[in-house]
Amino acid sequence: MKHTLEELEKKTYQYRKRFLELFTNIGFGHVTSAFSWAEIASVLYNEIMELAPTADQFFEYDKMVVSKGHGAGILFPIFEDAGYFTSEQMNDIIRIGGKNTELRKLFYPGFDFYGGSLGMGLGIAAGLAKAAKLSGYQWNTFCIVGDAESYEGSIWEAVNFSGYQQLDNLIAIVDRNELGCSDFTEHMLAFEPLKAKWESFHWDVSEIDGHDISEIYDVLQKAANKKNGKPKCIIAKTKKGQGLDYLIDKPLMHGFMPKGDEIEKAFQSLK
């Protein structure tokens, strides 16, 4: 590993804290979705992915598709930490009127598409992975998929396609926090047995604790290097809102952003 576990834990804390700074400032964002996969994003960007230093080296490096686009906000502090932006640049971008398009160009290396309209990212990732196969590129495509996003039928169209096409350079990570917007998935329309569903489409499936950095590292490291003709699915058991006890694992907190007096409370309770 390039970092110690302690360093990664510290970095992940800093990412959550910086996320709060940036997004309480603008007044909106999806804090619980972002925090749900903070450890996963942290390990991916600090340990696993090879990131293109500039956009013109795009085709030589790993790809990342944030299908659960509501959680993409956690990447801003990560890119800042990785040196893609200065704090001043970031403050200037994350504001009303901030140059979002400029951001997209700068983000291009290793951040190839973000969702928002749910259910699209895995198809994009599968297309990228197929393009790599056709061209003989060695990079992997990673895709973070929300579990509640997987109610979209288009996710399963892409799951079917990827298994059949034997895209073993595609690694989907399901952020299994069991929460949609209004309720827990298993109360609305149960997904379980989720592992068996992915496996039936010829994917290699693992289940991990999505907040345990050591487990995340081990499974991603193996998935990135195992070329067995099967795409990889990692079902990461997470808590929506992880890091903020008063928001954690609660329905109706999707899209929540602390405001006014709550901001201080959020910073104080951040773990």
């Binding site: 790809k63 259910g119 699209m120 895995l122 198809g123 297309g127 197929k130 288009s154 169209e157 396609f161």
Partner: protein, 310 residues
């Protein structure tokens, strides 16, 4: 004589044979013109099954991964089923997918309402950054295919399966201008705005009939058109008729009224198209049946044209 769809894919085949790097993604839709492509370039023919949403996302992913892609599906599904994908990926993110859809308007009306792409033009017109192409003849189809090889913008191409044959010379076609004019090139009594199947039918009728000299026939094969160029030509017409197999809301008639309103052009306009107030057809239909019922059959169209001209 090949259909516009087959003229397009035959040209793509020739391009790939000559070394161009193109992939065709299909939602379980073939074509006689694709049989050789499938046989000779199997790795370039990728099927997603009947899954139009995946058709667009996989194509977009391949395009992001550096591939030149044609996504091919049965209209209206790539638009109506996958509109969100088209909207987010092709329009907003400008991912350069060439989305080809077989059927336009009423050309497949015998299959029922589900298979009539009659709202797709209106829906696609609401999007920025995506060009809408309606090939009118083989020349346009071949030129479109040749452009697909070098094209780096998102495009939606709708093929009317009934259209075959040649109207234009290659130098007549200007995709940037977006339209060609057949018939009267000067001051005209009547301008007719249409595209697709009606161009051939009206062109034939104009050539065979008396007293059609006053007609300026506009073929809007690319949308959006060069608006100023269109305005200049409308200015030469005393009256306008729009003819289309689309719902009137948002179609070519709407387009003309919007442009005329924006440019403060006052002319009488008659819109001929599908009137949604009539509701849906719950009987077995075909193109002729619906055209007659909607008063957009050639007899009725001629009657309107002569009421202006004579």
């Amino acid at each position: 004589m090949a259909s516009v769809r087959d003229a397009f894919f035959n040209q793509i085949y020739e391009c790939v044979k000559a070394g161009d790097d193109i992939y065709i993604i299909t939602a379980d839709l073939g074509a006689p013109s694709l049989d050789d492509f499938r046989k000779d370039f199997p790795e370039r023919y990728i099927s997603v099954g009947i899954a139009e949403q995946n058709l667009v996302t996989i194509a977009a992913g391949l395009a992001l991964g550096g591939k030149k892609v044609i996504a091919y599906g049965l209209n209206p599904f790539p638009v109506t089923r996958a509109f969100d994908q088209v909207r987010s990926l092709m329009a907003e993110l400008e991912i350069p997918v060439t989305l080809c859809a077989l059927n336009a308007g009423l050309c497949s009306a015998e299959c029922g309402y589900t298979h009539m792409p009659i709202e797709d033009m209106a829906m696609m017109r609401t999007l920025s950054n995506v060009k809408i192409m309606n090939p009118t003849d083989e020349t346009i189809a071949r030129k479109l295919a040749a452009e697909t090889v070098v094209c780096n913008v998102p495009r939606f191409i709708r093929f009317d399966k009934s259209i075959a044959g040649t109207i234009y010379e290659e130098e007549d076609i200007d995709f940037e201008r977006g339209f060609s004019i057949i018939g009267n090139k000067g001051q005209s009594k009547l301008g007719i705005i249409t595209n697709g199947c009606y161009v051939k039918e009206l062109n034939q009728w104009m050539q065979q009939s008396q007293n059609t000299d006053g007609i300026k026939l506009f073929d809007l094969y690319t949308l959006p058109v060069d608006e100023q160029a269109l305005v200049d030509e409308i200015g030469k017409c005393q009256q306008m008729i729009t003819i289309e197999e689309n719902v009137l809301a948002g179609g070519l008639g709407s387009l003309l009224l919007e442009i005329m309103s924006d440019h403060e052009i006052m002319r009488p306009v008659k819109r001929m198209g599908l009137d949604t107030k009539k509701g849906y057809y719950h009987v077995f239909t075909n193109r002729e049946y619906i055209r007659k019922d909607q008063f957009i059959d050639m007899d009725n169209i001629m009657k309107h044209i002569y009421s202006v001209l004579l």
